[in-house]
């Protein structure tokens, strides 16, 4: 045995546990200030990670510009009272709760049971502590769709629960795309139970979609959510989900509305040239898409009013569902609908509530 103190010893992997707080004062501007405003203390991510080195360019902190509560996802999480207060703040009577954490499920490639385990716990937790139809608080059950049997187990679990009124399919990362026959048993059961399928875009894969290497959130947030919904709409429409399950209500959530006329135009153009590749369709794929329902948030209030009018006209005000996305940083108040000049009061009421009452049988 030798005495290390008498010999050269080289440790080739020592990790200095530096913190951003230690390093920031030594950083050059404007990065020093950007870091100091990055909201690192409230990220809910420990190990001193911060919005300055975010895991994704989906950095919603805006370098600390927004200090509104919940723009930072506090460690403690929501409870029922937060929902009640939020509903009161926005003048909302009924809300459908969607799990925030499940939106990252598309980023999981491990073939284990973590998604099913999470969904199982989430459903029991929400039923036990949060959902309350008497107060207008309902839930949508996440589908662990990579495993069909597990998804059917979830549907078994909720079938007698009044508090769950539909299911969520996270569009980001779903592979194969959600029109694939693999998912037919889920759709068949949802149709049978009267559960609308809510396709919800998600943050997972934001940085891998379309263009890896974006620098700022404005870039990924413009296209990331949009792309994951668009790709699933094309799959669901072309593979004939609506023909196979004619009573299934199909809802796409959280990509605004201005992309839909462009997508409908393109898919119809393709269909005119390659109709034989979509043999289940009895009409143009765009006609199925405009029969789907669409959540309005984030409504592009910056759009030219005549464009917005065309979008509403193509989708149909009977197919649009107000969604707030509260408490996320880019939530929409009901006023984005009530303030639209081209709508009649009846349209406004339908979009704000009546359409949802019918779709979700509330």
């Amino acid at each position: 045995m030798i005495d290390p103190s008498e010999h050269l010893v080289v440790d080739c992997d020592w990790h200095y546990a530096d913190t951003f707080t230690q390093v920031a004062p030594y950083m050059p501007e404007p990065w020093k200030t950007k870091f100091q405003k990055s909201g690192w203390g409230g990220t809910g991510v420990k190990q001193n990670l911060s919005a300055f080195f975010p895991a994704s360019t989906g950095n919603r902190f805006n370098y600390g510009k927004i200090e509104r509560e919940f723009s930072e996802y506090p460690d403690g999480g929501d409870d029922k009272q937060d929902i009640v207060e939020g509903m009161d703040h926005l003048d909302i009577d009924v809300t459908l709760q969607i799990s925030h954490l499940i939106l990252a499920m598309g980023g999981i490639s491990a073939d284990d049971r973590r998604v099913e385990a999470f969904v199982e716990g989430y459903i029991d937790y929400m039923l036990e502590e949060v959902l309350d139809p008497d107060e207008g608080i309902y839930g949508l059950a996440p589908m662990p769709y990579h495993d069909i049997d597990a998804s059917l187990d979830v549907l078994d679990r909720i079938e007698d629960e009044e508090a769950f009124v539909g299911v969520v399919m996270v569009t980001a990362g779903a592979s194969p795309p959600l029109g694939n026959r693999k998912y037919d048993p889920i759709y068949e059961r949802c149709e049978e139970e009267g559960y609308p399928v809510v396709y919800h875009t998600g943050g997972s894969g934001l940085d891998d979609y379309v263009r890896a290497g974006y620098q700022d959130m404005i870039e990924t947030h413009t296209l990331g959510f949009l792309e994951s919904n668009m790709s699933q709409i094309v799959s669901v429409a072309c593979q004939g989900v609506a023909e196979k399950f004619p009573d299934l209500e199909i809802v796409f959530m959280e990509s605004g509305v201005t992309y839909i006329p462009g997508l409908v135009s393109r898919i119809n153009e393709e269909y005119l040239k390659r109709s034989e590749e979509a043999p289940l369709l009895e009409k143009k794929p765009g006609d199925y898409i405009t029969d789907f329902y669409f959540g309005t948030q984030p409504l592009e209030v910056s759009a030219r009013p005549d464009l917005l009018e065309v979008c509403f006209d193509m989708i149909g005000t009977d197919r649009m569902l107000y969604a707030s996305d509260y408490p996320h940083w880019d939530f929409d108040s009901p006023s984005v609908i009530t303030d639209l000049p081209m709508l009649s009061d009846e349209d406004r009421k339908n979009i704000l509530g009546q359409n949802a009452v019918e779709v979700f049988d509330l």
Binding site: P30, K34, N62, I66, W329, D330
Partner: protein, 125 residues
Amino acid sequence: MSAETRVEVGPAADFEDGDAELVQVGRAEVGVIKADGKFYALRNQCPHDGGPVCEGKVEPRLVGEWGGPGERVEQEYDDDQCIISCPWHGWSFDIETGKHIGDDRYVLPTYEVVVEDGVVYVNAE
């Protein structure tokens, strides 16, 4: 300025840089803000969604300059331009002109502020 057309805010000495005080000016709620030693007054209602913009962060505007092909955009805080950002969704306005920094068709109404005998007033007209 007559006494009727102005609203008293309070002693100037009570304001530190970054402080904002809300006052009622006619039917409008107005935020009186001290930034970089100067007083500004802006309507406390974001034209986007009605948020309490004057309760938001006040900071220098981040600007960028392009050095040429292949060069990174160099960013720095411009101490001569101060912005205020609505705490609800982050819409940012030039604190002096009230104009949105990305689209100057959106303008937050501004009000004249005067300091007389150490007291801050907002011109109501």
